[in-house]
């Protein structure tokens, strides 16, 4: 009996610690009629994290486990000279992106988990290099977040360029929620902005803040795995994984705090809560939040003429539910959500290629092209 009495307060604490959540304002629907289908164009890739198209139409694919694959005329070639990748948990070879002026300067950018630098473990790094035959040359590490840690979570990462040629990339908070994202003197849980050669722009928001990491452009992020330039407005759009619930879409603005983990629409995986508030002055509200989480991976905003039904829509891969989510927006408000290609596989990436077609990467399968019926 004594034992039982001891358990009662525990029960009460447990129940009250289990938080309730407000679902997304717009629910996801089954599509009515989809005028597009998918075609597997690159088979047999376990996790195709990043995808870039060279001017000849061939593809550069980063495989999370560490390979850089060049796919041309139906053949995969492993490129040598790729960065040394720290493969652990959610870390590995991450994104790949061509310089906007690639045709003239040949620069290719990569993010990856790296064990270089201070501490055991790894953290997100940014490298640029050139492709010469089947080898990378001129490798330059432009940024390495630190310190390293053996945690398995939240490396990010995606790379994007804006219309002025600045480079943005994301690094997740490395599973250190209460230390990293709100502290601008530390890496992780940040979106960074650099010149294309890795120098830090003097007008970065914390350039003159003592001890700050000067490359930071925005902070208070959890694990951003979607980052693109909006094809019409030129703004940088981002999405990030929340915990259980609370994935977000944000428009990235200079020096802003996106709130993690002080404000969030999510709760812990065990159902308990870590914050009671979803809004706070000085912290940005997301443009949209997902409850329940879809685990958004890969982000594209459709601008090509190949998909008249989808023009201006946001596409996000769902890692969790294995479908492509289409979000219709009016005045930057989500008004409709649709599940496309349900069951295609856990999606890791969504890219609108220079040829106007959209390509998606599904775990264990490879890369699919979306084609009109």
């Amino acid at each position: 009996m004594k034992k039982l009495l001891f358990i009662i307060p525990l029960v009460i604490i447990t129940i009250s610690a289990c938080a309730q959540q407000t679902e997304s304002s717009v629910k996801v629907e089954e599509p009515q009629a989809v005028n597009y289908t998918t075609e597997l164009v690159v088979p047999d890739i376990s996790i195709a994290w990043g995808l870039a198209f060279l001017p000849d139409g061939s593809m550069l694919i980063t495989e999370k486990s560490g390979d850089l694959i060049h796919f041309k005329n139906g053949t995969k070639t492993i490129i040598s000279g790729a960065p040394d990748v720290y493969v652990r948990g959610q870390g590995g070879f991450l994104d790949v992106k061509l310089h906007p002026d690639y045709e003239n300067n040949g620069w290719i950018y990569f993010t990856y988990a790296s064990s270089e630098g201070e501490g055991t473990g790894g953290n997100t790094a940014l490298m640029r290099a050139k492709l010469s035959g089947n080898t990378l040359t001129n490798q330059e590490v432009l940024y390495k977040a630190g310190p390293n840690t053996t945690r398995g979570q939240h490396f990010g990462s995606r790379i994007a360029f804006d219309n002025d040629g600045y480079l943005y990339f994301s690094a997740g908070e490395r599973g250190d929620r209460d230390t990293n994202p709100q502290d601008i003197t530390r890496d992780n849980g940040k979106i960074y902005r650099l010149y294309d050669d890795g120098r830090i722009p003097e007008d970065n928001p914390f350039y003159n803040t003592p001890n700050a990491k000067k490359a930071i452009y925005s902070y208070g992020h959890r694990n951003p795995q979607g980052l693109v330039k909006h094809p019409v407005t030129g703004e940088i759009w981002e999405h990030e994984h929340g915990p259980q619930g609370g994935d977000e879409i944000n428009i990235i603005k200079k020096g802003k705090n996106y709130g993690w983990p002080v404000i969030s629409y999510g709760i812990n995986y065990d159902g308990t809560s870590f914050t009671d508030i979803t809004e706070k002055e000085g912290m940005e509200q997301p443009l949209f939040y997902w409850v329940p989480s879809i685990a958004p991976s890969g982000l594209a905003i459709v601008s090509s003429d190949k998909y008249p039904d989808w023009k201006g829509n946001v596409l996000a891969g769902s890692l969790k539910f294995a479908y492509l989510e289409r979000l219709v927006l009016e005045n930057n408000k989500v008004v409709k959500r649709e599940k496309l290609f349900e069951g295609i596989g856990r999606l890791r990436n969504v890219v609108q290629a220079p040829d106007g077609y959209i390509y998606i990467a599904a775990e264990g399968k490879g890369i699919y092209k979306i084609i009109p019926n």
Binding site: V11, I15, S65, G152, G175, Y269, D270, G271
Partner: protein, 134 residues
């Protein structure tokens, strides 16, 4: 809400049961394994090892885990791909290589084989994990 609350309760009571009556080394290993689990496994196998129907097999009361010690260690050490049957359900998915150290594989094995109704008093050691090849 009710479901979440009862999961929380289950979780707590699970912790209770596994905390008592174990020998010290196993107890310590389970404790470290619990941290590895939160860090590396929970996103797929979920908070009570229940998995996600159709996508991620359960670890709680998993016949596969409890009857295939070596295969389970190999899966956690190197990743796993291809058809398997867990509690009568077929899965044909991928678990990528998680990049754990041998000692971490042993710890998380001790945790998952002693949680959520699973029991295993034969401790998995680092040496045993080292022996297991691809």
């Amino acid at each position: 809400m009710k479901i979440i609350a009862s999961f929380c309760l289950l979780f707590l009571s699970g912790l209770f049961v596994s905390a008592f009556g174990q020998d010290k080394a196993l107890e310590e290993s389970i404790k470290r394994g619990s941290e590895i689990y939160q860090d590396f496994c929970i996103t797929c196998h979920m908070v009570n090892g229940e998995g996600v129907a159709g996508s991620f097999p359960p670890l709680a009361k998993s016949d596969f885990l409890m009857k295939n010690r070596e295969k389970s260690i190999r899966a956690i050490k190197y990743g796993m791909q291809g058809e398997i049957i867990v509690n009568g359900n077929t899965y044909n998915r991928i678990m990528a290589n998680l990049g754990l150290l041998e000692s971490e594989v042993a710890d998380v094995m001790n945790y998952i084989t002693n949680s959520w109704g699973n029991t295993n008093d034969k401790i998995v050691t680092e040496a045993e994990v080292l022996e297991i090849k691809k």
